[in-house]
């Protein structure tokens, strides 16, 4: 059933152990990179592979590395964003739990490519078990000279530090993550300058998602062309799709970029639970605009989803069937953003809370006819006026839900109740 790169390791017993990983081509790519490639060759390879940043923004990974100034007198840092907080997304957790060495090998390759002096893995606070597993894996590689001084007998040395977050969604935003890592309140920074120039401790910094980095060993082992050919024109390789909600087999599915959404829902995830009909899908984590049932032939890659008016985001696919109350679903999402807004800039701080209250009122049966219009107005006033993308992430679901499922909101407002039976 297609190529599996990362998830191949999920099925192998004890794959999180160094010995097992070594038996499956483990750390071959690292050896190759350290012995036969220059840092710029590695970067070039990754650029050509069309590997996209899989944390949500989809920025080409290799190009991000190339922004780091080569001649900076300051140390450079690599930060791994394992603050997987996007609702509907749970792929990084599986990587940390099952294939930690794939991640560590990727980290070593990336650190070599950008010349990082130190690597920080920022793991969300709730991930206690993944933090433990990756910690053990680091101990193993350190004991076996894959990490530390003179790795594999070369001049390359590196240290990796695990930092655990304290439970704030905003710390998944890369500059808020850096602030948090520096010991400050997790507030996104004003940009520019971007972290590639002024990042952690004011030094050039690359921040990559766990999944992005975990693909690196395979790209080095099999070559950029093999990886690029797996996906679409500008979206290389496969990615881990997290399917949740009303499907028969929810879970993480590794599929090539550009796989149609319909195939993921109906073939991979086994269709809608209880043979109900589909109502809506959020295709890329909670921040992505919702798709209606007639839009599910879209290809699941960054460019196609953008063209369809949504976004590929973190690959979290949330499936909603005919019995889902859309105002309620939107309220759940909006409550999340109101709770997680960092409070730094005005539109997001005040707007998210307001939208939550209006939606709560609609659900409570005291909505007014002008509420949907007011919600749209608030969402548009947040959009584009905030420091970081959380404002947009909170506004986009509101706008898309209200546009696509206006009748449900109108029913709640005019009938003072929900039109879904038994909800």
């Amino acid at each position: 059933m297609g190529v599996k790169i990362i998830s191949a390791g999920f099925d192998i017993e004890g794959f999180h152990r160094l010995q097992v990983y070594l038996a499956h081509e483990g750390y071959q790519a690292l050896r190759k990179v350290l012995t036969s490639m220059t840092p710029s060759q590695v970067t070039e390879e990754v650029i050509k592979s069309n590997l996209r940043g899989l944390g949500g923004a989809g920025f080409p990974a290799g190009r991000k590395w190339s922004f780091v100034p080569k001649d900076s007198p300051k140390p450079k840092y690599l930060v791994i964003n394992a603050d997987e907080g996007e609702p509907g997304t749970f792929k990084d957790r599986l990587i940390l739990l099952n294939t930690p060495h794939m991640l560590i090998e990727g980290i070593l390759i990336a650190a070599y490519a950008i010349g990082a002096a130190k690597v920080y893995i920022y793991i969300r606070g709730e991930y206690t078990e993944p933090a433990k597993v990756i910690g053990q894996a680091l101990e193993e590689v350190r004991a076996n000279n894959y990490l530390g001084q003179h790795i594999l007998g070369t001049d390359f040395s590196l240290d990796v530090v695990i930092h655990r977050g304290a439970g704030a969604y905003i710390c998944g935003e890369e500059t808020a993550l850096l602030e948090s890592l520096e010991g400050k309140k997790g507030w996104p920074r004003l940009k520019p300058p971007f972290p590639a120039l002024v990042g952690l401790f004011d030094c050039p910094t690359v921040i990559n998602n766990v999944e992005t980095i975990a693909f690196l060993p395979a790209i080095i082992n099999r070559g950029w062309k093999w990886f690029a050919d797996l996906g679409t024109e500008r979206n290389g390789g496969t990615r881990l799709f997290c399917v949740s909600g009303s499907v028969n087999r929810p879970g993480v599915y590794e599929l090539p970029m550009g796989t149609p959404l319909r195939e993921i829902i109906y073939e991979q995830a086994g269709g809608i639970k209880g043979d109900k009909s589909l109502k809506a899908v959020i295709p890329g984590g909670s921040s992505a605009p919702v798709l209606s049932r007639d839009q599910i032939d879209v290809k699941m890659d960054f460019d196609s989803l953008m063209a369809a008016g949504s976004m590929a985001g973190s690959g979290g696919i949330i499936v909603m069937d005919e019995d889902t109350c859309m105002p309620h679903a939107l309220w759940v999402l909006t409550r999340f953003y109101a709770h997680e807004s960092c409070g730094q800039c005005t539109p997001c701080r005040e707007g998210t809370g307001w939208m939550e209250k209006v939606l709560r009122r609609i659900l409570d049966g005291t909505g007014r006819p002008e509420d949907p219009e007011n919600l749209l107005r608030i969402a548009h006033n947040i959009m584009g006026n905030t420091i970081c993308p959380l404002g947009d992430a909170a506004a986009l679901p509101v706008i898309s839900f209200l546009e696509k499922f206006a009748n449900e909101f109108d029913f709640h407002i005019s009938q003072h109740r929900c039109d879904i039976e038994g909800v």
Partner: protein, 539 residues
Amino acid sequence: MPTVTIDGQQIGVPEGTTIIQAAEMLDIHIPRYCYHPGLSIAGSCRMCLVQVEKTPKLQIACYTPVSEGMAVHTNTEQVVKARQAILEFLLLNHPVDCPVCDQAGECWLQEYYMEYGLYDSALLEDKVRKRKAVILGPHIVLDTERCILCSRCLRFCDEITKTHELGIFERGDRSEIWLYPGKVLDNKYCGNVADICPVGSLTDRDFRFICRVWYLEDVNSICPCCSTGCNIIVDYNLKRPHAAKGRRLMRLRPRYNPEVNKWWMCDEGRYGFKFVDASDRILDPARKENDKLKPIPWEEALGRVARAIRALVDEGRQEQIGIITSRWSTNEELYMARRLFVEQLGVKGLDHRVPGNIVGQDDGFLIRADKSPNSKGAELIAVHHPEGMDATQIVQAASQGKIKLLYVLHHDLAEAFGNKLIQKVSQNTELLVYQGTNFNQTSDQADVVLPAAAWPEKEGTFTNYAGRVQKINEAFAPPGRAWPDGKIFVELASRLGAPFRYICAEDIFREMADRVEPFKGMSYSSLGLTGSLVSSQGE
């Protein structure tokens, strides 16, 4: 030097200038809350959003540097709509309790609301409730509901005082300014946070509820509490005398002077004005009768002092006259004292160097150990005779009966030399004259007391420690029958047969600028708002 076009006007600005700064140079005001020129950029209020051509999103003017050929629009429909939206968000959970809020009248929310308000509230839900009327320290009260979280106060405590008392806690619309655990907002400059708070969240406990700001009138002045000479604004209330039990001087605020105090002033100076409206102000000329002070007409008081001086001078006994001038007097008053007593009457026992004005140490920012506003002026005008005695010697001589007439201006000698010595002075002199603003132990011993004006009650100049001559202005008239020192000198001089021909303080300054080398070429108009330096700075 990139050239930028803002609302059709072109200007060349230095590299790194932000849009908000460039607009200011063109006299275009871009609404803002979190931006303060003296603090780092927070970029969080989003009020200063402007449209930059060829940029899809609105940009914040406080953070975006101008670049060559940039075209900015600050008043398009899109920008105005964004401002309305931001203001709506800012007011969403604001209690709108303007009636009880001290900031009303000088609140930036009110200010911009007149232009960008939406007037009809679209909020039907309950506002977020937070903590109110929280005392943060000796001078500041916090209302977290009114707060718009612009973070100016915490940036002030982080960047200017580096004392780090304040932080923002919680997230989203529950965010609150609060003290870090175990901290109290009691640094030496904390009064400034009430000034820079654009809304009524941080208010001054000293000013709280005593007067509405629209009752206030103001005048530019100089802080008299140390030799730094911070530029200030004196806010006073005469229209509603029932407010604050008749207190006229309501508050002091720092006034921007890039050469002296920037935007700030210390709390010592800010709250150091209480003596002006204190109940122990000397209101009437008086003479001692049976150990008690009895109010007398000016004519009688001046006549008595003048006759005593005249008698000693006529008999050639100038060495028996001692004059203690003051570092709290203006340059003009000091110059008059020199003119009258040294140059006209030949008195040698005249000096201002009473010990006790040095308290603590310079703090390297605004607070200086020399607590008198015009030490430098007194030195430059040479109010002490080069061959004469210094203040300590004069007082010693007076206590030994070698000086028969001691004329003390403003200094509390009892505090400087001890009450016992001053009692001796009182016993062994024929006439002890005290001229000052408030009663003290020295005035208690005096034979004649002359009521003098305090610093907001007169016009003149102070010379700060660095030799910067800065102007003070009269806010209100002296209380009771008190007069400014200058007027007392003029009246005294005419009774001593050496009349001054001054009509106003400016006349004195003009003559002084002519005759005293360091002040050469200066005039009130050349001092401007920020003052100017004396020509030779050293001794």
